[in-house]
């Protein structure tokens, strides 16, 4: 499974640095966070560093009013039914998006779409309109249809199956899945199982599946044979939240806490808890392997973690480096090996978390202790319902 950067507020320098450092990579650009000339500039910078770009139109709510988002030429001037009914209004949006994609040097088009509250004939009709119109306008690169699902719609198995069956007839190269959920880490195994079922069902159509707005919890999507997941620095690009496209959303909310991502326990820890690990002499169990120790090495240099210069930048880059590495090795040659590795990773995380808890080291609301079972349950549902097919269709 591949790893993409999901562009969010304040990520310009991180993207340049990480793509340069990795030697390649993909960035999903965000019109909410970049003006047109910035899109053009970062697009060039990423290409120059051997990366590729995509552009998320973010038209999830055509009534959104975020100031940077609405100043783009493709954004509808007023709330009309244009995007819903097709015709000239939708064509204009697609024409402008084509131009913006060209400037941003994207390799594929992500088609616009509105968030799906309920998978019904209305939403399916809107999707079909967008895809039909894009056939005539966005026809010089591969296209990914956006499937942005509300938390409620993802909890409904019937609705997920309805999307899979309808999508089979869409004339697109793949899908960009944007799943909404309430918390940073998903606590509902049904939600996660349905996402796995959706992605695997779409992947079985031999099309590309890219899932946006992911945290490390979505590493399990490797078992659904997903092509790539995307993540970023702030929580609002690691978990989709529709409110980030409205003006009232504050980009600076709760940003001063530094976290350390321990990929072995799939949990993140505040620095005082690393001090606790230091004091109880178990800090080394949180230490990354050497090749992943680029940004967090100072935490394990022998001094108390809170006295080091581990900062916000280190925290973000460490998270993305580790998650990218985990993502790249998550998909193996067979379905069975892949799902077994996922379960082994969860078992190992569970053991380490237990040991850390015994020593008072906890991840607050980013502790994976209660999430391990969620992922295991969801993977079991996937295996029960699609394991046989995936074992035989693993390409």
């Amino acid at each position: 499974m591949d790893f993409y950067l999901q562009y969010g507020y304040g990520m310009m320098e991180h993207c340049r640095h990480l793509i340069q450092s990795w030697g390649s990579g993909a960035v999903i650009l965000s019109p909410r966070d970049l003006e047109e000339d910035q899109l053009e500039k970062i697009g060039s910078d990423i290409i120059d560093r051997n990366g590729v770009t995509l552009l998320d139109p973010q038209l999830y709510n055509p009534r959104a009013n975020h100031h940077r988002l609405i100043q783009h030429d493709y954004w509808p001037d007023e709330y009309t039914t244009g995007i819903l009914s097709g015709g000239p209004a939708l064509d204009k949006i697609l024409q402008e998006l084509k131009s913006l994609n060209t400037k941003s040097k994207t390799s594929k088009y992500i088609l616009p779409s509105v968030i799906c509250e309920t998978v019904d004939d209305d939403w399916l009709h809107i999707q079909q309109n967008i895809i039909n119109s894009s056939d005539n306008i966005l026809n010089d690169k591969p296209t990914l249809a956006t499937i942005c699902l509300s938390s409620d719609s993802l909890k409904n198995e019937e609705q997920i199956e309805s999307i899979i069956n309808s999508a089979e007839k869409w004339n697109v190269s793949g899908y960009y899945i944007v799943p909404e959920h309430d918390n940073y880490l998903v606590e509902d195994p049904v939600w996660l199982a349905n996402l796995l079922m959706l992605c695997s069902g779409l992947k079985l159509q031999n099309r590309e599946v890219l899932v946006g707005y992911c945290s490390h919890q979505m590493l399990c999507l490797a078992a659904a044979n997903v092509d790539a997941i995307a993540s970023g620095i702030w929580l609002n690009v690691r978990a989709f939240n529709r409110n980030k496209f409205t003006e009232s959303e504050d980009d600076s909310t709760s940003r001063r806490t530094k976290w350390y991502y321990c990929y072995q326990s799939l949990s993140e820890y505040k620095i005082p808890f690393l001090d606790m690990a230091y004091n109880t002499q178990i800090l080394s169990s949180l230490q990354p392997e050497n090749h992943l120790n680029t940004y967090a090495a100072m935490l394990f240099s022998g001094t108390q973690p809170s006295t080091t210069d581990y900062n916000e930048q280190s925290s973000f880059r460490h998270y993305l480096l580790c998650l990218r590495n985990q993502t790249l090795v998550s998909r193996l040659d067979s379905y069975r090996e892949t799902i077994n590795r996922q379960n082994a990773m969860l078992d190992a995380a569970e053991r380490l978390i237990r040991e850390l808890h015994r020593n008072g080291v906890r991840g607050n609301d980013r502790d994976f202790a209660n999430i391990v079972d969620v992922n295991k349950a969801a993977l079991q549902i996937l295996d029960n319902n699609r394991g046989f097919v995936l074992e035989r269709s693993w390409i």
Partner: protein, 283 residues
């Protein structure tokens, strides 16, 4: 519609030894000897224009010349005493349907059941190649001849995926046999109906011929209970020790999956997977 054997001998030239086989609805079925075609079955249908499906069935069978579907040699419309009749002359298959075997001899042994499964999948692959969905695969419509070859009968509700559907879209239920039809078929979700609906029915038939019960019908209290069981109840998997293969048990389970996306993508894929499993079964 009960008609006398005389209606055949008096209206169709070159027939002899006419005997009555069955009657149902507007149709009576006779067996006889035909001067040109040998042993034939003649179906006599009253008021044939009342149901477009009759003509659709004839067109499908004649146009496609399937290997394991009885050939239709001729069809003749006759006005008899101011009432219209249709005579369909088709190939006679010497054998009995699977329901007969189940009732007379009980469940099939695994070797025979697996052979039936393979043949059914092959037939549906052929239908799929012609963009056809049979939509009524059940023990009554499958004849096994004296060489153990299977023949699929009754294309009365078959659907040609390139032709206009006869069933009105607004109909709540589509044509089906409850207990064998896939959910998308009886719920008339036309956009989802393809050969995966036939794969569902094949799964049910296999389940029934090795256990003796249709898992959806056997303990159901009513037709709606059958639907509830198909859509909401986890049917026990076939015992791998009985059918000699865990993989085969899993395969039947996915054929019978409630949602089409959870079954094989198409009949050809199903047959290919079956062939892989078949090589691992020690019969």
């Amino acid at each position: 519609m009960q008609v006398d054997v005389g209606i055949v001998s008096e209206n169709i030239q070159g027939v002899s030894d006419v005997s009555h086989i069955a009657t149902g609805g507007q149709k009576s079925v006779f067996k006889c000897m035909h001067d040109t075609h040998g042993d034939v079955v003649i179906k006599v249908i009253g008021n044939p224009n009342k149901d477009q499906r009759i003509r659709r069935e004839i067109d499908i069978v004649i146009a496609n010349n399937f290997s394991n579907v009885p050939h239709i040699y001729e069809f003749i419309y006759k006005d008899i005493n101011s009432r219209e009749f249709l005579f369909i002359i088709e190939q006679f298959i010497s054998g009995e349907n699977l329901r007969y075997f189940l009732q007379k001899f009980g469940v099939f042994n695994v070797t025979d059941a697996v052979s039936i499964l393979r043949q059914l999948l092959s037939i549906v692959v052929e239908l799929e190649d012609h963009h056809l969905v049979h939509r009524d695969i059940k023990p009554e419509n499958i004849i096994m001849d004296k060489n153990d070859n299977l023949w699929l009968l009754d294309f009365g509700i078959a659907r040609h995926l390139d032709m206009t559907s006869i069933t009105a879209t607004q109909e709540h239920f589509g044509p089906h046999t409850l207990g064998y039809a896939a959910p998308e078929q009886y719920r008339n979700v036309k956009s989802e109906i393809n050969s995966r609906a036939d794969l569902f029915s094949i799964g049910v038939v296999f389940y029934e011929i090795v256990t003796g019960i249709n898992p959806y019908i056997s303990t159901a209290q009513s037709p709606l209970d059958v639907i509830r069981r198909i859509e909401q109840v986890q049917i026990p998997k076939l015992d791998p020790s009985v059918i000699k293969s865990q993989q085969l048990s899993d395969f039947i389970c996915i054929l019978m999956a409630k949602y089409p996306s959870r079954r094989p993508q198409n009949a050809r894929q199903a047959l290919s997977w079956f062939n892989e499993i078949y090589r691992t079964i020690e019969l």
